[in-house]
Symmetry: C2
Subunit: 348 residues, 2 copies
DNA sequence: TTGTAAGCGTTATCAC
DNA sequence: GTGATAACGCTTACAA
């Protein structure tokens, strides 16, 4: 870290450093002539003021943070894309931390943001922090951060901050209902982490849809996939062996869907002939592969963009009321939901 | 940005701020008693020293940058994952910029890194900077950065820096040869951006394999897919209409493969019966879908990890000779490369 | 219109 | 062992 400083520029331009500063930020008055000269010297050395020095002096920062739980899940890659595009256009620098869905890493990530004195944070928490003690710890970390935070995808109770979420209940309801409409009477769910709102809401939406249609929610049909590919894969292998399995599943997350599909493809069963389903979020590349996998669709890049925009709005007006953007997933039926005559039905 | 400062901690602990600093960095001597007291106060407020102030004072930074050309391409998501894991364990904070494969954005990103005074940079350039003028501009930006840079995936001529690359020539050669071995005599390529080394090398490897096998490289079979999904899709639609098309393709990139598959699936042709191929990199989720798409496999997360490690090695020993890690792609044949009796062959 | 000087939160060099 | 004090590179009154 060598590089020119504002003083070098000032000297070479034959002015004081405050003059250079004024030119950089065009604050205060400078004669056109001086400004020209200063700019010339800055251009000559391609000078850029140090962000650290500047933020120390101004007591603000040009940096925003983002904490993601699964960096290479396509869902979060899209989120990241949306966020980074907005950050770029607004001259905000993005600091990225991954938590790997682990609470301790989450704390660590928050401490990184603290250390970096980020101006704002987009936060997908590793868990819900519903336990009193965890919540307090999180709250204190967030308080110290002392900057706007936008919650993304996963919510945390009692936190009065901006957020971008999905109507998970409604989505699950729609998907399950679509399976019912397709004629299925034995419907299962690959449920997600019940420690997460999104997991519970999706299960609740599923249940509600069954209930409204007078269908039972057979506990054996509730597969605890934990939003995890391998867990789902293992569980589904067993489920698929049985003949009294559901004719269709609502799969509450993309990672689970991967595990589900892996098990199905390995079992030799056909979709939707032997087993039907609707998933949450489009699978990466499924359109290219021409795979007729029905799903709940949402604009994920847009969710990232929206989160960044909420952050910026809050910068501009710290007093504005808190805003929660709720994205509604749309049903996209491509065929995998169909009930094909002759599907294996439970003995019962 | 409020938060406690080192002075607040010092006062509350009843010591001078240099003592607190000593405790933080455990440099110099402090009595166990004082240290205990200071740590207690720090813990009470969950105090973390400001990274900006610290880096201003120490003239170094705890931050590394990464510039990526396509943030939501699964290849780069994996790279990012590898890099961020290493960064996390080494207490380095990651700053992310995307260039969208655009040179101006690349310059902008480099300027961000400059402004942030990053300690090191992992750089996937938007292009090759082979034009004299562009090269000079890039070189000057890199010189000003004045920090170790590790080039990743895409190389730039004449730059004597560390890098992690792939043996693209050899990979393309292997894949093409595999198609020949499978019995194909009319083989095409979805070529990548010829302005990029990786594009040229893959085409060269393809050509070499054909040549060694006494097969012609029919210009009509060289589809300029530009590493782009839509371009490839459009071009392939036309190619697939013709009857004198190749029986197999080597597809030199994952995005192109998506476009290729989209065109194929839409045309109703079957793989490999009507058209065979081998791609570069595994397609996301193909194992789950049970898709038998043959490809050149490489450890992408490992490439990211390796790049970060090279950076760190360079921090530790700035004088060490430059290192270029060349990753060798492995052939993974799953069936899509096969020549099926009855495949459409050109009239010639 | 410009320069001087203080201050931002650290670390590092010294005396004590 | 410890506490002043001077940097670090910048912004921002304030004075000239």
């Amino acid at each position: 870290m060598a590089g020119k400083t504002i003083l070098d520029i000032a000297r070479e331009a034959g002015v004081g450093k405050s003059t250079v500063s004024r030119v950089i930020n065009d604050s205060g008055y400078t004669s056109p002539e001086t400004a020209r000269k200063v700019k010339e010297v800055m251009a000559k050395y391609n000078y850029t003021p140090s962000s650290a020095a500047r933020s120390l002096s101004t007591q603000t920062s040009d940096t925003i943070g983002i904490i993601l739980p699964e960096s290479n899940n396509p869902f979060f890659s899209d989120i990241l894309l949306g966020v980074s595009r907005v950050a770029d256009t607004c001259d905000l620098t993005l600091i990225l931390c991954g938590s790997d869905n682990n609470v301790e890493n989450d704390y660590r990530a928050l401490r990184v943001m603290l250390r970096q004195r980020v101006r704002g944070l987009i936060y997908v928490p590793a868990e819900e922090y519903s336990a009193e003690q965890d919540y307090e710890k999180l709250k204190s970390l967030l308080d110290q951060l002392n900057c706007p935070v936008v919650l993304l995808d996963r919510s945390i109770e009692n936190l009065r901050i901006d957020g971008v979420f999905t109507d998970n209940f409604r989505g699950a309801f729609l998907a399950t209902e679509a399976l019912v409409r397709a004629g299925h009477r034995h419907i299962g769910i690959i449920a997600g982490d019940q420690g997460l709102h999104i997991g519970r809401e999706r299960l609740a939406g599923f249940r509600k849809a069954l209930e409204e249609n007078g269908l039972p929610a057979d506990p054996r049909y509730i597969v605890p996939g934990q939003f995890d590919r391998n867990i789902t894969y293992t569980l589904m292998q067993r489920v698929l062996e049985k003949t009294d399995r559901p004719t269709a599943f609502f799969i509450s997350n993309n990672l689970s869907e991967t595990g589900f599909l892996q098990a199905v493809s390995q079992s030799g069963l056909r979709i939707p002939d032997d087993i039907a389903f609707i998933g949450f979020d489009e699978m990466y590349g499924q359109d290219a592969y021409g795979l007729p996998y029905s799903c709940l669709e949402r604009d994920v890049v847009g969710m990232g963009r929206k989160a960044a925009q909420l952050l910026i709005k809050r910068f501009e007006d710290p007093k504005r009321p808190f805003e929660r953007e709720i994205v509604m997933p749309r049903l996209k039926l491509l065929g995998s939901e169909k009930l094909v005559r002759g599907a294996v039905t439970p003995a019962g």
